[in-house]
Amino acid sequence: MSLLGDLISNLFRKPGTVLFPAENLPVPECFRGRIRITEDKCIGCSRCALVCPSQCILMVPDQKEIEVKGRKITRKKRPRVKVLRCIRCGLCEDACPSEAIHLTREFSVSGTVCETEEM
C-alpha cells in the first residue's frame, strides 16, 4: 500500500461513511434490539423479571385466561418493561419458557425519561 496512491485513489472512491438516517447498515438476523412482548403467550411466570440484570422488567397484576400448548391457564401477572433501562442482554429471552418475550431487530429507541414503561 503506497500512502500517496491510497490518498489519491480515495478521492475517486465512495466514502466509507454510512449516512444515517438516509442509509442504514444492514441489521444482522441475530441483532439484539428493543424488547417486544407477545401478550397472548405470556404465562406470567416472572422469570424474565428475576433474571433481568438492570431490573427493567416489572410484573404488574393482570388476570387473563391464556392458552399454552393446548392447556388453558389463568395468569395473574404480566411484565411491563422500562425500555430505556433495558441493556439488551437478551437474558429474558433465554429465560422465557413460552417465547413471549423477545428482542426485535429495532435498534433505535430514544427518549428522555428513563423510567418510561411500556408493555
Binding site: 500512502l3 500517496l4 490518498l7 489519491i8 480515495n10 478521492l11 472512491r13 466514502p15 466509507g16 461513511t17 449516512l19
Partner: protein, 323 residues
C-alpha cells in the same frame, strides 16, 4: 486607472468580496479533499460560510484579566493585513496597485497573522495559549528564513521586486518552478508552515495544548481570525502561483483584452487549486512533528536547500547576463 474602477477593484472584484467568497470556497475544498482522502464524506459547500455566520453570532467570552481592547483588535489587525496583502496579488492580469517592492510588502503582511497569534497567546492568560504562542513564534523563526529566501529568488532572477513584473518575466521565459525547483518545493513547505497545517500545526497541536493561541478565542474574534487564516491560504497560494507558476498571465495573447482577463482569472483559479491540492495531500500524508525536530529539519535541510538554490540562481543569473 479610473478611480471608480479602482474602488470596484478593491471592494468587489477581485478585491475584498471575491476574496471572502474564494477564501471560504478554498476552505471548503481543503476540508472536502482532506475528508475524501481519509475516506470520509466531508462538509457541504456552504459549511464554511455557515461556520463563519454561526461564530459571528456566538457570545464573546472574556477570560479573566484579559485586555479586552487588544483582544478585540488583534484578530481584526490580522484580517486587515492579509486582505491588504491580497490586493497586490495578480488575479486578473497584473495588479493595478503594484509598485516596485510590493513583494516585500506582501511577505511582511503575511507574517502579521503569526505575530498576532503569538500576541493572542500572551494576551489569553492561559497556559496552553502561552505555550502555543511561544511555539508559533519559534516556528516562525525556523521556516521564515528559507521561505523568504525561496520567494525572493524569483525576484532576484527577474531583476525586480514587483510581483507583476516577475509574472511578466515568466511570460517571456520559463516558469520559475522549472528554473528553481528546489525553491518551489521550499515555498510550498514554507506555505504549509505559515498556514500552520500538519505537519507544522505545532502551535495549535490539539492533543498537546488544546488549541494553542486559539484556546480562549470565542465568537467574532474566532470568526475573524479564522477567516484571516483562510485568506492567508488564498494569498499564500496566489503568491506562490504568481512567483513560480507564471501567475494569471497566458504565454500567448488571445487578441481580446476581455478574453485575456477571463482566461487569466481561470488560470489563477486552476493554479491556486492545484497548489491547495498539493498542500492538502501533504497534510493528509503526515503527522505533526515536534518543535525541536522542526528546528533540526528546518535549519539543517530546508535552510541549507534554500542556500543551495540561492547559489544556483546566482550562477544561473551570471550565466544569463554573460550570454
Amino acid at each position: 486607472m479610473d478611480p471608480l474602477l479602482l474602488v470596484l477593484y478593491i471592494l468587489l472584484f477581485p478585491g475584498i468580496l471575491f476574496l471572502l467568497v474564494y477564501a471560504l470556497f478554498l476552505e471548503y475544498v481543503d476540508r472536502k479533499i482532506l475528508a475524501r482522502m481519509q475516506n470520509r464524506v466531508g462538509p457541504p459547500l456552504l459549511q464554511p460560510l455557515a461556520d463563519l455566520v454561526k461564530m459571528l453570532g456566538k457570545e464573546v467570552i472574556d477570560p479573566r484579566g484579559v485586555d479586552r481592547g487588544a483582544f478585540d483588535a488583534a484578530p481584526l489587525l490580522a484580517f486587515a493585513s492579509v486582505v491588504t496583502a491580497f490586493l497586490y496579488i495578480p488575479v486578473v492580469g497584473t495588479s493595478p496597485l503594484s509598485f516596485e517592492g510590493d513583494l516585500v510588502l506582501v511577505l511582511y503582511l503575511l507574517t502579521i497573522p503569526t505575530v498576532i497569534l503569538f500576541l493572542m497567546g500572551w494576551l489569553s492568560r492561559n497556559v496552553y495559549s502561552t505555550v502555543g504562542g511561544v511555539r508559533a513564534v519559534t516556528q516562525l523563526f525556523i521556516y521564515e528564513v528559507p521561505f523568504f529566501l525561496a520567494l525572493l529568488l524569483p525576484a532576484m532572477m527577474a531583476g525586480s521586486w514587483n510581483i507583476s513584473t516577475i509574472v511578466q518575466w515568466q511570460q517571456g521565459h520559463l516558469w520559475f518552478a522549472v528554473l528553481q525547483p528546489i525553491g518551489f518545493v521550499i515555498a510550498i513547505i514554507g506555505l504549509q508552515a505559515k498556514l500552520e497545517r500538519t505537519p507544522f500545526d505545532i502551535p495549535e497541536a490539539e492533543t498537546e495544548i488544546v488549541a494553542g493561541p486559539w484556546t480562549e478565542l470565542t465568537g467574532r474574534r474566532l470568526a475573524v481570525l479564522h477567516l484571516a487564516m483562510d485568506i492567508s491560504l488564498v494569498v499564500g497560494s496566489g503568491l506562490v502561483a504568481a512567483l513560480f507558476l507564471g501567475g494569471p498571465l497566458l504565454p500567448w495573447d488571445l487578441g481580446n483584452a476581455w478574453l485575456n482577463g477571463v482566461a487569466g482569472f481561470l488560470l489563477f483559479l486552476v493554479k491556486t487549486l492545484a497548489i491547495l491540492l498539493v498542500l492538502v495531500t501533504f497534510k493528509a500524508a503526515t503527522g505533526r512533528i515536534r518543535i525541536d525536530q522542526l528546528n533540526d529539519i528546518g535549519w539543517k535541510y530546508i535552510a541549507g536547500a534554500a542556500l543551495i538554490q540561492a547559489a544556483g540562481v546566482l550562477i544561473l543569473s551570471a550565466w544569463w547576463v554573460s550570454t
